[in-house]
Symmetry: C2
Subunit: 222 residues, 2 copies
């Protein structure tokens, strides 16, 4: 994954993924404008393996994170110095996720992403829709639908790791490891959607698995 | 806030806020490219008023969210039909936040945003840095630093609502209202950074305020 070289930047050509615009409008009688992007809506899935009580994450090299780790002066050079800026700077820990670019239901797309990225073949009725929210408020306002999905070792029928030329590692973390991650000082190389999903899990789901593992609530001893 | 008209789109000109690129690279011997944006790093602040036990939010019209609510066919028209698509579709509920575009410390910028947007004049040592994370993994990988800040009614020295031509409403929500928001089916017109911050608050901070309000833990009765 971290064998990355020949990194360089060019202006954005016509792109099917990123379409930038300037929106003009008049608010309360005052003319304004705002620069924004058209991006695809998406799904994100918290996958928790109840057999071994571990959360399933994906890890991949993310150019947008890598780029933002490069000092502005060094962004101007013809080729980025990958000795000074190793690829690990751009490796993100994320939930399983994907864009909605097919004419299928959000549930079906979520199911496919869990299989392709994580290798778990889950029946569609195991996907619990939690909520949906806006991916950002500044430049991208696309909708992301968030699912929770419990899996077992028996459902792991494929390797995972993505399709086509995706290079994705499947990573497992225990509940104490998740708690350590969200309470770390950072920088955490994860997006806020992943951190929201982890906090949602810790607050609404984790306690039952702690109990079943003999990790009792320190207050109630229940 | 919702008096919005004369909405139209133009191609993105040279912009100080949104600089799109295509990054080219070779990973594991395979040539790839990715479209991304250069955007400013930012701060976000959870502001909790301990006098009245309410969370302080900001509400504003967000063009990127508004745009994504418009049916793709209707995006092509010369002027967006604001009767069919009222401005309320683009009004987002968010944490106090701002971009880092001045040569000041993140703490100082956070302090200024709390004053300008929410009207609370807080000493810098009341800002507790929680963590930092990547704003996104797809097209923008800028760093957002997240603070927690407890305020009192006595610190409210200004009106808030933003500076220059910003149109921002200050909104307060109780802890039960926050719980109802994060457990709603959505779509929630908020970004995941706001939802992460709310879940973090509910999990690590809210209990003490519930107790002081006589809302006891249902398990422990503490």
């Amino acid at each position: 994954m971290e064998d990355v070289k020949d990194v360089y930047l060019t202006p954005l050509p016509e792109s099917q993924y990123v379409r930038p615009f300037r929106m003009h409008y008049t608010q309360n009688g005052k003319k304004k404008n705002w620069d924004l992007l058209e991006v695809h809506d998406s799904v994100a899935i918290v996958v928790f393996n109840v057999t071994r009580k571990v959360m399933i994450f994906v890890k991949q090299f993310r150019p947008a994170i890598y780029y933002n780790n490069i000092h502005p002066q060094d962004r101007q050079s013809d080729v980025i110095d990958t000795k000074k800026y190793p690829a690990s700077l751009g490796v993100a820990l994320e939930m399983c996720a994907g864009i909605i670019d097919k004419n299928k239901s959000v549930e079906e797309i979520a199911r496919e992403e869990v299989l392709e990225e994580c290798g778990y073949n889950v029946p569609i009725n195991k996907l619990q829709k939690i909520t949906s929210y806006r991916s950002g408020v500044g430049v991208q306002g696309s909708l992301q639908t968030f699912f929770y999905c419990e899996v077992t070792d028996e459902m792991k029928t494929e390797q995972g790791g993505g399709v086509d030329d995706e290079i994705i590692d499947v990573v497992e973390k225990t509940i104490p490891e998740i708690e350590a991650l969200v309470t770390s000082q950072g920088p955490i190389n994860s997006p806020p959607s992943c951190l929201f999903a982890l906090m949602w899990f810790l607050h609404y789901k984790a306690e039952q698995y702690k109990k079943s593992f003999g990790l009792y609530c320190s207050d109630c001893k229940q």
